[in-house]
């Protein structure tokens, strides 16, 4: 879809942003690029709106990648998703339906400062790069900074910890920008999908407590079908379930916030692998990982379109 852009290698922030600009120019019928704000270090926070333009009311799905800087397979998947959508929307009836009936807001790199830092300085950096003059350590965990049981269990008040929740909710400009966007558009955003690594899981709320969500039935069946579809591609098993019991309890995360704020279907993917390579998933595994995840995402989307209220 973009000459010279290789979807089977990891790309720097600059390369990803150039790719986005190129798509914005060359696929204007299906793609619109816009900025929702600036990061702590002043970088633009770009989102791609993907879907067939229509004057009729259309619902939307939000997808973000790269909340945690070192999870490089996550932005790689967001790029893959866009590529597949552009390549197959004419030939694949499911993709055609998805783009006809929905918009996808795709944020390929949420934590732009952290991602850039992981490319240039510390490959295993996780947090944002914000500074607090009172402390020597930098960064906030962008997935503990949301206003949903903020800084409770599973988050840390200590600035040097990797799960530091921040000085207050939405202290991070990146979190604030996305939260503002989702608040503004929540009436038509039907699903929230966030991509992380690594654990091979498909999670849904709640993360901050052990409890069953009111629309458990539809969410659980969507997750069940999605992991089965994913497994059908390469035989890779993903666990699925509420984040609190499937992974661990964590407060202040984006998935719970999206759900609490009225987006009825919220999921978080933990992509490959389970520890053999960890954050260093080799580039040769980008294609199989993204191919199977693509099927899971399509499955969830179609299930929500057809089967869920």
């Amino acid at each position: 879809s973009v000459p010279g852009h290789n979807y089977e290698v990891y790309h720097s922030l600059e390369e990803i942003q150039n790719w986005m600009r190129h798509l914005n120019k060359t696929h204007s019928g299906l793609i619109q690029m816009f900025s929702i704000g600036k990061s702590y270090e002043g970088r633009s926070l770009y989102v791609l709106k993907l879907g067939r333009r229509s004057r009729a009311y259309k619902r939307a799905v939000w997808m973000d990648c790269g909340i945690h800087a070192r999870e490089w397979i996550s932005p790689a998947f967001c790029q893959w998703f866009i590529k597949e959508a552009l390549l197959t929307h004419r030939s694949d009836p499911a993709m055609r339906k998805m783009l006809n009936h929905l918009y996808f807001y795709v944020m390929p790199v949420f934590n732009v400062d952290g991602y850039h830092f992981s490319w240039t300085n510390d490959r295993f950096w996780r947090k944002t790069r914000s500074r607090n003059s009172r402390f020597r350590c930098r960064g906030v965990d962008a997935n503990r900074n949301w206003r949903v049981k903020w800084c409770d269990e599973g988050a840390s008040m200590h600035p040097c910890e990797d799960t530091y929740c921040g000085p207050f909710p939405e202290s991070e400009p990146e979190v604030k920008a996305v939260a503002n966007f989702l608040r503004k558009h929540k009436k038509h955003i039907r699903a929230y999908l966030s991509f992380h690594a690594y654990a091979q899981m498909l999670l849904y709320p709640y993360s901050y407590k052990y409890a069953t969500i009111p629309n458990f039935s539809c969410v659980e069946s969507a997750a069940y079908k999605a992991v089965n579809a994913l497994r059908s591609v390469n035989g890779v098993r993903y666990r699925y379930g509420p984040a609190s019991s499937t992974l661990y309890v964590s407060s202040g995360n984006s998935m719970d916030w999206a759900y609490k704020n009225g987006i009825p279907y919220a999921f978080a993917f933990e992509l490959r692998d389970t520890g053999h390579f960890g954050f260093l998933l080799p580039e040769v595994l980008i294609k199989p990982t993204c191919t199977e995840t693509m099927l899971a995402v399509k499955n969830i989307t179609m299930h929500l379109l057809k089967k869920c209220p």
Partner: protein
């Protein structure tokens, strides 16, 4: 070398504490050595049976592994040399672009 070879000799090991006492000991030593926890995301999550993947720097690995052996805490080395694994994980194109 990528990242100025800073990860040379670093390892990633996996431990699964078999008891709460082991979990407590691990939490203490992780704090002491300021390890980079790959999973779970926080030391506070570690308890009996928790799969923990830990990135230990080269200058701490000897002392940390000696402690684990002394405490009879079993571990498995996931990544023997993080720098080598890093160099292998990217393609020639990626490395060329980075340089």
């Amino acid at each position: 070398h990528l990242y100025n070879n800073r990860y040379a000799g670093d390892q990633v090991i996996r431990l699964i504490p078999k008891t709460e006492e082991e979990a407590y000991a691990l939490k203490k030593i992780y704090h002491q050595f300021r390890v980079d926890l790959w999973q779970p995301s926080s030391i506070s999550y570690i308890s009996e049976g928790t799969v923990t993947d830990v990135h230990i720097p080269q200058n701490a690995s000897q002392a940390l592994l000696a402690f684990l052996q002394q405490a009879n805490i079993q571990y498995k080395v996931l990544i023997e040399d993080l720098q080598k694994a890093l160099e292998r994980s990217g393609s020639l194109q990626t490395h060329r672009n980075r340089r």
